[in-house]
């Protein structure tokens, strides 16, 4: 009916209008097919590896502080890197935001980043930056053991305080942790285990093979196991502290503990994309994110990363959780050059051993 009425009214109108209207409709139809906004000054595009609930408040604060409009999409570390690599000849973004350092060293070896040193660069310890400024840390994120309180009670267990506690048969088929093929969390975990075994690979892999018997599922993303552990579908697992504390904040009854032998930590980084169309705006975001301006906003937003900048104090309740934790350093240069080989060995000897 509506169509008929439209057609009738068109007929009544002069022909010229008819064509203008058509042109307008055509333009409206075509709008979604042409490329989006050009790189106007005062805007930038980013892939965030931090989940949206962490990244959004940060980006909004940056927009307010700088007047630069930020468009960002969140991808897991592997996917974000695969996309940046695929888009190498026609970069869609200016900044890769957040994500564990091992993702950034992998991107660095593919030549995806443009070196840039922000004003905070000199203040940071060497673990938190690439010497040439290919990437810079914005936060620190240690691994933790997270266990379901009900599960512990049912099996009469204490929260695990040693790597060997996780080998307890009570955990059989009840641990979830990340898959090293997709997750930076898993890679950090494996290098922690290597480091605890003084980089004696055979000893470390012997441990991981024993641990394999207790694994219920290797999840594709680092936080993938947090909900099952929260629900009691799994008994526990190894996660980044930011995800573990978030699970607890959500109301799930979980315990957070650290192994006495020590556990690794991942620097969360930021980098400028090579060939970025809004490089100046991108540099401003890097300046802001690596400075206390952003990192002092983490605690008020209940985001439990440890600030990387030495001038920002760790939030007291987070410091309380970390008290007594032994955080060990992973040699990123060694990890970077052995990453591929170690993961392949993990796939062959641990993952496929089930």
């Amino acid at each position: 009916m509506r169509l008929v009425a439209e057609r009738a009214s068109e007929r009544a109108r002069p022909q010229r209008n008819h064509f203008t209207r058509r042109a307008f409709v055509a333009a409206a139809m075509a709008a979604p097919f042409v490329s989006g906004k050009a790189g106007a000054a005062g805007s930038l595009n980013a892939y965030s590896i931090w989940p949206e609930n962490y990244a959004r408040p940060m980006m909004e604060a940056f927009e307010k502080a700088s007047g630069i409009a930020v468009k960002f999409v969140r991808f897991s570390s592997g996917e974000a890197l695969a996309r940046v690599a695929a888009e190498k000849n026609n970069p869609q973004i200016d900044v890769l935001f957040g994500g564990p350092v091992e993702t950034f060293t992998a991107g660095q070896s593919k030549g995806l980043f443009e070196a840039y040193k922000s004003p905070s660069f000199g203040d940071l310890p060497s673990r938190f930056k690439d010497a040439n400024g290919q990437w810079t840390a914005i936060a620190d994120d240690p691994l933790v053991f997270m266990t379901n309180s009900g599960f512990l009670k049912q099996h009469n267990l204490q929260p695990p305080g040693s790597w060997d506690d996780l080998l307890n048969p009570a955990y059989k088929d009840m641990l979830q942790m990340a898959d090293a093929r997709t997750s930076g969390t898993a890679v950090t975990r494996i290098f922690s285990i290597l480091q605890v075994h003084d980089r004696n690979e055979d000893a470390a892999f012997a441990y991981m093979k024993k641990l394999r018997k207790n694994i219920q599922s290797y999840t594709k993303s680092g936080g993938g196991g947090t909900l099952p552990v929260g629900l009691g579908q799994a008994g526990g697992g190894i996660f980044f502290i930011v995800d573990a504390l978030f699970t607890r904040q959500k109301g799930y009854d979980v315990q957070i503990s650290f192994p006495k032998e020590g556990i690794g930590s991942a620097a969360e980084c930021i980098a400028l994309i090579k060939g970025a169309k809004n490089a100046d705006a991108g540099k401003k975001l890097i300046d802001w994110a690596t400075s206390p301006d952003m990192q002092s906003l983490l605690a008020p937003n209940k985001i439990n990363f440890i600030p990387a900048h030495p001038k920002v104090a760790t939030e007291p309740s987070l410091a309380e959780v970390l008290k007594g934790a032994k955080i060990i350093e992973i040699d990123e240069a060694w990890a970077g050059s052995n990453r591929q080989r170690i993961i392949e060995r993990w796939i062959a000897e641990v993952l496929n051993a089930g």
Partner: protein, 552 residues
């Protein structure tokens, strides 16, 4: 009719589009997979074939797809037969229409997540209901069941119009000649639905072969399958080449099943609409006890699906599933504030893709069913490629192909819409072909000999006959545009994002509430649109039937 200029123009335009959106990306991907510093190499594929892990994944994929194909086709046939051949009440039929749609119109992961909540060590069914202590959800059983549950509606949608179109009078003739019910079913109903069964099995087999979302959640560590491995290879190991090679292993079985099905269908004639057919009869095929068995089976599946979705609705309405059962609207507030860009983009893309995809499906289906010779086979095969390939690979192929000149489409909606059209129209294509195989050419030839052009014949004779296929195509493309993720996760951009990608993100953020709320929103929207399509189809079909009635 072969020399018709309009038809020739359509074929040329179609080949240009297939070339650009199917062959060109695939070629870019192959070049990436088989080139090494500019030279050609077979190293990667030889390496993949020699790797026991990959061979195991290939075997698992084949077994899984076969199981899912058989189970899904059986369930689809069961439902289609119950809906068309028993005197089921109007309301029960409506309920089936509704339930059958749910798994099809749901965003990925919803069935899998429901399974995880229901069958694990603290699962609502295994632990809370049955008191089992050490139930494990990951593995063959759950993956097979979840995929069959997700894909059996494809079989239902493909089989139902066929069963409806098989005139009840043929079955009645069988009865009046003294055939028993089993004889009539075996010698009339079953052979007439064979093309449909083959078609349904093919659709489900291919869907399962390409599915990575379900195994990603449910397969666990002891059931590696190729799409998941290919996805992990690309996204995790940054190994585009390895992933491309793994996905090529999938093409072989997909191609074999495809040709087997064609052989099966083309050997026989299945014409039931001869222009002389009478009305259709419902309730002629089943005895009382058979009816109850059919109904009980349908009811069991229906109830289980309802339960899974009740779980989803519940998760969307509480503060934290399993920890805090306080009712809240907060999750919906989140999706209608932060989620608005994703919602808007998804709807625009789906609404543009729907009519284009429907039209494309019918045109390609018509050309396949009504042409002869080599070109026809080529169109048929090429139009199936993007459907048979794992979505991850299509997505990566598009990303490689359309990132650079001359076709720089990365970051636009065009690339996402094109991906949906060329990936999800095979349902429309196959349904068109299957319907046309039941329509005798003599009807169209009569039109030609009365002087009608090919356009006129298509519009006034063929189109009304394949209208159900057109609507099936419309529905599928819209549904997929609202719910698919595997290919388009690589195509979303700063400018265009999708609800499904937000759902996946939410799930990894322990934000199950917003993920569930998004899912409920998608289901409601898709239900609304598909209901409108159904109403439209019913109106137009009634029109057709009445006009045929006056003609005869």
């Amino acid at each position: 009719m072969q020399g018709d200029p309009l038809r020739a123009g359509v074929v040329v335009a179609l080949w240009l589009l297939l070339g650009l959106f199917v062959l060109y990306p695939l070629a870019c991907l192959l070049i990436r997979a088989f080139s090494d510093d500019g030279g050609f190499t077979l190293g990667p594929i030889v390496g993949a074939l020699g790797n026991p892990t990959h061979l195991r994944a290939l075997r698992n994929s084949l077994v899984l797809a076969s199981l899912v194909g058989i189970l899904g086709t059986a369930a689809g046939f069961l439902f289609a037969y119950a809906a068309e051949r028993t005197d089921m009440s109007r309301n029960a039929r409506r309920l089936i229409d509704f339930i059958i749609l749910l798994p099809l119109i749901s965003p990925p992961f919803t069935t899998s997540i429901g399974f995880v909540f229901s069958f694990g060590p603290r699962g609502l069914i295994t632990h809370d209901l049955l008191g089992m202590q050490n139930a494990q959800v990951y593995g063959w059983a759950s993956t097979t069941c979840a995929e069959a549950l997700t894909y059996f509606p494809l079989a239902f949608l493909a089989l139902r119009p066929l069963i409806a179109a098989i005139g009840g009078d043929l079955e009645e003739a069988g009865f009046s000649l003294g055939g028993s019910r089993w004889q009539v079913f075996r010698t009339i109903t079953l052979p007439l639905t064979m093309p449909g069964l083959g078609n349904a099995f093919l659709l489900i087999f291919a869907a399962s072969l390409a599915d990575f979302a379900t195994p990603l959640i449910l397969a666990g560590n002891n059931l590696p399958v190729l799409p998941t491995d290919a996805y992990l290879q690309i996204t995790g190991m940054f190994d585009l080449k390895g992933g491309a090679v793994l996905s090529l292993l999938l093409l072989v079985p997909a191609g074999l099943v495809f040709f087997a099905q064609r052989y099966l269908v083309e050997r026989r004639s299945y014409v039931t609409i001869t222009g002389k057919s009478g009305g259709r009869a419902r309730g002629a095929g089943a005895t009382a006890w058979l009816r109850w068995v059919l109904w009980a089976a349908c009811a069991a599946v229906t109830l289980f699906i309802l339960y899974l979705y009740a779980l989803l609705a519940y998760a969307s309405a509480v503060v934290a599933f399993g920890a805090n059962a306080t009712l809240t609207l907060d999750n919906y507030r989140v999706i209608f504030t932060e989620g608005v860009p994703a919602i808007k983009d998804t709807l625009i893309i789906a609404l543009i893709g729907m009519p284009l995809g429907g039209l494309y499906g019918v045109i390609v289906g018509y050309l396949i069913a009504r042409s002869r010779g080599f070109g026809r086979h080529m169109i048929e095969i090429v139009s199936m490629i993007n459907y048979a390939l794992p979505g991850t690979i299509v997505g990566i192929a598009y990303l490689i192909a359309f990132n650079d000149q001359p076709f720089a489409l990365t970051g636009t909606a065009t690339i996402i819409i094109a991906c949906y059209i060329f990936r999800y129209s095979p349902t429309g294509i196959r349904t068109t072909v299957a319907l046309l195989q039941q329509v005798d050419r003599s009807i169209e030839e009569a039109s030609f000999s009365l002087g009608a052009s090919s356009l006129r014949t298509f519009r006034s004779v063929t189109l009304p006959l394949i209208l159900p296929a057109f609507f099936a195509g419309l529905g599928t493309v819209f549904i997929r545009a609202m719910t698919a993720i595997s290919a388009t996760i690589f195509l979303v951009s700063i400018n265009w994002t999708l609800i499904t990608v937000r759902i996946l993100e939410n799930m990894t953020e322990v934000a199950l509430g917003p993920a569930a709320a998004f899912s409920v929103f998608v289901i409601v929207v898709v239900l609304g649109v598909t209901s409108l399509l159904n109403v439209a189809l019913r109106r137009m079909t009634t029109l057709r039937v009445s006009s045929l009635g006056t003609a005869s």
